[in-house]
Symmetry: C2
Subunit: 319 residues, 2 copies
Amino acid sequence: MRFATLRDGTPDGRLVTVSADGTRFATAPVATMQALMEDWDAHFPTLLAIDDYPHALAEHVVAAPLPRAWQWLDASAYPAHGALMDEVTGVKKPPVDFPLMYQGASDRFYAATDAIPFPSEDLGIDFEGEFGVIVDAVPMGISADAAMAHIRLVVQINDWSLRSLAAPEMKTGFGWVWAKPHCSMAPFAVTPDALGADWQDGRVCLDLQVDWNGERFGKANGRPMAYGFHELVARAARTRDLVAGTIIGSGTVSNENFRETGSSCIAERRGIEIVDQGAAVTQFMRFGDTVRMAGVDAAGRHPFGVIDQQVVSSQHYRP
Amino acid sequence: MRFATLRDGTPDGRLVTVSADGTRFATAPVATMQALMEDWDAHFPTLLAIDDYPHALAEHVVAAPLPRAWQWLDASAYPAHGALMDEVTGVKKPPVDFPLMYQGASDRFYAATDAIPFPSEDLGIDFEGEFGVIVDAVPMGISADAAMAHIRLVVQINDWSLRSLAAPEMKTGFGWVWAKPHCSMAPFAVTPDALGADWQDGRVCLDLQVDWNGERFGKANGRPMAYGFHELVARAARTRDLVAGTIIGSGTVSNENFRETGSSCIAERRGIEIVDQGAAVTQFMRFGDTVRMAGVDAAGRHPFGVIDQQVVSSQHYRP
């Protein structure tokens, strides 16, 4: 089953269910995604019974599936990416036996087609393609096995990053604030079962196609997470209850053979260049650049729809 | 002017205005603190006109002034505390010319008298007494001067910390997640002008009385922040719009003469012991321990009311 949120002038938008081909929708009997996550079991049977999608879905009216959330925790679950980044940034992390995670801005998630404003091209503007999950209420101290049942929806995210700020912020020990502005979300949130065999061990086993200014930049597969999403959820809940509607991200999708698959962020490609050629040659994004991201299955379908957006100057931008 | 939020069975509670002596309230014409922050200028004149407080205020019905927020950013603005912590934890931070800040859990703020559940005494349970501000919507890139006008309310916070997890998390560069569970807030949010001469240069110039298990532990003054709250707000907004209702914290209140004033967290006292005696002797909190925190003015009044709460085991706790 697949959901979207339509812009209706309110901060949370209007929840709809979407046809399997992503072209039509039905208004959901529960008004918002947040309300659905707060009482999934009560609402889901009614939603599941919907088999008529009377309205055509227009791309420009689609918001992020959860346009704002009470909590956003983003992990770094792909070891190929983490190891390369440590090597080239010179950030020395002690080895840890748990998934790394930071708390990010959750008060706004951009829609898949929104223009994204930044104050300066000097900040090292980068995209980060990743997958994520939305959970219902999760109690503190839950096990990874029990956490699996709390994963209600799967989403696709562009975790915008400002690389000039990232390494200095890491070195403070306080983590990222300014290097991690608001993220974008692909149009559709889907139930894990709707991914079929592409949802395995709490992992999204789809290729993530990433195109920068119309050219293929990466096509890494989501499978090789060191920890499944259920393990990320359990870790997130180690010392806190997770509020319904918490979003947990995978971190940049990355494969060991990233020289063949390409990358899901510019920083990784620059890291490969540093290792292979001694210096980064690929520059970060400029105002006017576009990025397109789409998980793709074996039949060429995009279960989450497509993120396709342009970076603009905040000086000349009015939302 | 002074506000509180009463528990009414909803997550956001019911906004009320409170008499100057903190004993009586009037129901506000705007239902929630969040709604007030989203349209302060429209609501405030009506609120200011209230001069009759018909109801007696009972402590147990008071929630946090903002029981959940879309964003919580906590700084570390007291240099005496920061320098000592760096020295004793061995975390080597490069010098920075901006205030340090991390993004914390904002989906729940405990009330001043709530019992606080933690999974284990081994986590290094600590309180952190601090002040904070609540802003209305702040645009990205604002100046510190312009940010001052967005500071609508001042609050007092207990930023619960789990010290056994804190230093290891800092060393990952991802910042704190598990070391920083939900915070508590004192009963009243007050307008800066209601603090009179105790609000100067964007700083709360009150002593913060901290009592642990009934004994005075600290009485540091809020004045010596290296950056005023307006500067913290401007820094927070460097690469993002701040959503209305964003809370910005000062970090642990601390003075250069902390050997005389005492401390606002156990970690600082332990740091002093390490420096002076070679080893920390004060232990962290145990289940059943209490902490009381209250900003106090020259007349002995507590503008934010009093935080007074007990730490309990999450194994035996049902909210």
